[in-house]
């Protein structure tokens, strides 16, 4: 998305600040001329991906959920998506922080006997680029269906949240994935994400449907954000990660700037969003009794693709 400088003010802004900006900016020197794009209002030279992976560990007996074994994966790409650096993987600490947006997953309706609502877990990361925060709400319903003489157990995880970057940084893609770690067998039976033009308020629901017709249980995830560009979802994320191995058991949702598939391919400094952007995603998985007893965790992996063009870069 290219931002054209308004003709009314750009001339004076350019005259007053051109020299200082030319020294501070890492882009090619030059002066922005009203109504025209100069060489300084130009191209980015790199894009950053920031992916986290962590185990959403669950204890159905206690209803306790926690994030463990977190890793941080970073890489620098050229604007065409070609790697400029190898993928760097480091252990990451689970941070805590204040909410950066308005989002939640809420249980509505009456739960069935044995229903477990785990505690909410937060993924929070603050860096020089900005802040990401995602919240994960796991649930479990034993005795969900009857297969012959066997009762199944269903797990649902609702995720919501997003990223808010500092001045000089712009979001190209921001979202999260949730996957059950089995590459060979399919346990996922339901998924939910919103796709299409980003509304200011997004809600996505997925339900454990009950025989209680008066008030069947459903989980509603919601988020408020700047209504720009689009929301997307799939069994894999917007760029390759190790979680792709679990695509058959994965759900992903992300916000994406229209420049990603537009003619600019997000090459310009003005491409991307400077606002809070995020999304909501649900997954529903079903297990036989012995498989359910073996469920220990789901993978969660928030991801962010962004560009830096201000003096903070480097």
């Amino acid at each position: 998305m290219v931002r054209r400088v308004s003709s009314a003010r750009s001339f004076w802004a350019g005259s007053a600040l051109a020299t200082a900006l030319a020294v501070a900016s890492w882009a090619a020197p030059g002066v922005a001329v009203a109504g025209e794009r100069s060489e300084t209002d130009g191209l980015i030279t790199q894009v950053n991906t920031l992916t986290f992976s962590a185990k959403l560990a669950l204890n159905p007996l206690t209803g306790k959920a926690s994030l463990v074994d977190a890793s941080k994966l970073t890489q620098v790409l050229d604007p065409a998506g070609n790697p400029l650096t190898p993928l760097k993987v480091r252990a990451a600490a689970v941070q805590s922080g204040s909410p950066i947006g308005n989002y939640a997953c809420v249980k509505q309706g009456n739960a069935r006997k044995g229903f477990v609502e785990f505690n909410r877990t937060d993924w929070f990361n603050a860096g020089k680029h900005g802040v990401e925060q995602y919240q994960f709400f796991p649930y479990m319903q034993p005795g969900a269906r009857t297969f012959g003489t066997v009762k199944t157990t269903q797990f649902q995880v609702c995720g919501t949240g997003g990223a808010d970057l500092k001045d000089g940084y712009r979001i190209h893609q921001a979202g999260m994935g949730i996957a059950f770690p089995d590459a060979g067998r399919t346990f996922k039976i339901g998924q939910g994400w919103q796709a299409g033009k980003t509304p200011s308020d997004t809600t996505v629901s997925l339900g454990f449907e009950l025989s209680d017709k008066r008030s069947p249980l459903s989980i509603k995830g919601s988020i408020s954000q700047n209504p720009s560009d689009k929301l997307k979802g799939s069994i894999v994320g917007p760029y390759e990660t190790s979680m792709d191995a679990f695509a058959r058991n994965g759900v992903n949702a992300w916000w994406e700037d229209s420049c990603v598939n537009g003619w600019s391919r997000c090459k310009f400094k003005g491409d991307g969003s400077a606002d809070f952007q995020g999304t909501v995603v649900h997954g529903l998985w079903e297990f036989s009794p012995a498989d359910a007893r073996a469920v220990r965790y789901f993978w969660i992996y928030p991801y962010l693709k962004y560009a830096c063009h201000g003096f903070r870069c480097g």
Partner: protein, 321 residues
């Protein structure tokens, strides 16, 4: 159309995997003298009448029980034909050329009749209860199980849908959860009482609600069904994952309660007159090597052949045709 995006590549991978799976499944047909040829997937779209099969079964080509579909089986020559696609069938019964199933409707089971082409149609005026374990009566009525919540207490019900009036009535209610309803003669009902910390129990309930119990040695997950003189149940290894560790068949003499274990063959369905059980070998649960077991002579299985790359879990003989 040039594929450029990550999602496009994922779709190609999924499509290619599906296509390869279909090719492999079709390719193994006809190999070996005793291996039968499973018909092409989706053959039900050819409109073969369900009554043309000897029995219908719940099975999976990927040995993934919770993603099972309905298949039609003919015994001589041995063959399997896929009837439904992606329906996640969890229980069934067949009678008079009709098949009724419980199939996943999202996270929940619902009852439906199966058309010859594999489409599912709701039972008229039944509504959408959370229902399972359907059984046909001879008059075409359907007896099934459902459950409701009453002041946060789960109540399990045996219900009957009448084919003529299309009305439903409750036959019994209980707070006890009994699994795998099977309708027998004289109004008797057969259930499995699951004991998570000990042996499962087979329960016979007469028309007046009086119960007899037969304790199994371990986990009874799998098939449970009435024969003429015996009940057949699946024997499992301890803490079995369904479909992975069946170890044999337990015959329970109805009159005396005497039990006999037939190792190495898990039960699928009694035959039409209830004298023999169609069973599959537990040696390789990714495929179905089939045989008839006669409870009067269980040591001599009557081998029928192999259906490769198809895991059959349980079924219903096509009775009343």
């Amino acid at each position: 159309m040039r594929l450029t995006g990550r999602r496009d590549r994922a779709r190609v991978r999924a499509f290619t995997a599906t296509l390869l799976g279909l090719v492999v499944f079709a390719g193994v047909s006809g190999c070996g003298d005793d291996e039968a040829a499973p018909s092409a997937l989706g053959a039900a779209s050819q409109g073969r009448a369900l009554s043309a099969y000897d029995l219908v079964v719940v099975a999976s080509a990927e040995n993934n029980p919770l993603y099972s579909d309905l298949y039609g089986i003919t015994v001589d020559p041995l063959s399997a034909t896929r009837i439904t696609t992606d329906k996640r069938i969890s229980s069934l019964d067949a009678f008079g050329g009709q098949v009724v199933v419980a199939a996943a409707d999202g996270p929940t089971d619902r009852l439906a009749f199966v058309a010859d082409n594999g489409d599912l149609t709701p039972i008229p005026k039944l509504g959408r209860p959370f229902a399972y374990s359907p059984n046909f009566r001879a008059d075409g009525s359907v007896v099934f199980r459902d459950f409701v919540q009453d002041n946060d207490i789960a109540v399990y019900r045996t219900r009957e849908w009448d084919q003529t009036s299309e009305q439903t009535r409750t036959l019994s209610r209980s707070k006890e959860e009994l699994l795998g309803l099977q309708l027998g003669s004289d109004g008797r009902l057969l259930f499995l009482r699951n004991n998570e910390t000990g042996d499962d129990v087979v329960v016979v309930e007469n028309a007046k609600g009086k119960q007899r119990s037969f304790r199994l040695d371990g986990d009874g997950a799998g098939y449970l069904g009435w024969g003429r003189d015996h009940i057949a149940a699946t024997a499992n290894a301890a803490d079995a994952s369904f479909g992975e560790q069946a170890t044999g068949t337990v015959f329970i003499a109805i009159d005396t309660g005497e039990q006999q274990l037939v190792p190495g063959w898990q039960p699928i369905a009694w035959n039409g007159d209830g004298t023999k059980v169609l069973a599959r070998s537990t040696a390789d649960l990714t495929r179905s090597e089939l045989a008839f077991l006669d409870p009067r002579n269980p040591a001599a299985p009557e081998r029928l052949g192999v259906l490769p790359a198809l895991a059959i879990y349980f079924g219903s003989w096509m009775r009343g045709t």
